[in-house]
Amino acid sequence: MILIISMALIGLAALLTVIRLLRGPSAFDRLVASDVLSVITAAFMAVYSVSTGSIFFIDVAIVDVIIGFIGVVMIARFLQGVLK
């Protein structure tokens, strides 16, 4: 029961983040939102892995966090010279 409530709350957080991702005035707002969204997705995968008892989703969460970190740093360094 706690896990279902927690998954609903994490879904609400992801919804708020997606609203900022769609509305954000500059490209950096979208970048911040996608950074937060990758961490939220990893947390949801951990809760889902506990809830269903399958151990595979935690591996997916590890790969998701690593790819999100590398992508966010790369896009931030890329945008540094473009918007000037």
């Binding site: 994490i10 708020l16 506990v50 966010v72």
Partner: protein, 108 residues
């Protein structure tokens, strides 16, 4: 054990919701960066620790993920903030001081 895991997971998801709410409500990029990344880092670490308590089979990978998030998330948020400041994104109208601009003027 179960009660500790449940409380940690519930606390972490409340922190994630507060981080998303701050991402909506804050006025400029730097405030959104602060509230979003800090709250989501604490929330995700608490959720992963709670899932390590609830399911001991995934505890090693959860602790690995906690260490990686604690190392990587401040790096990405500081890179975003620095690159937004260099890219010329303005501060919110109520901001009072800008130390990075002073440093850049002193060094150039």
């Amino acid at each position: 054990m179960t009660i500790v895991g449940d409380v940690l997971i519930l606390l972490g998801s409340i922190f994630l919701v507060l981080g998303g709410l701050g991402l909506i409500r804050m006025p400029d990029v730097y405030n959104r960066l602060q509230t979003g990344t800090k709250a989501s880092t604490l929330g995700a670490m608490s959720i992963l620790l709670g899932s390590a308590f609830l399911a001991p089979g995934i505890a090693a990978k959860s602790v690995l993920l906690i260490i990686f998030i604690a190392l990587a998330n401040p790096i990405s948020s500081s890179t975003i903030g620095r690159s937004a400041h260099k890219g010329g994104v303005p501060l919110a109208p109520g901001s009072v001081r800008d130390d990075l601009k002073k440093n850049e003027e002193a060094s150039s």
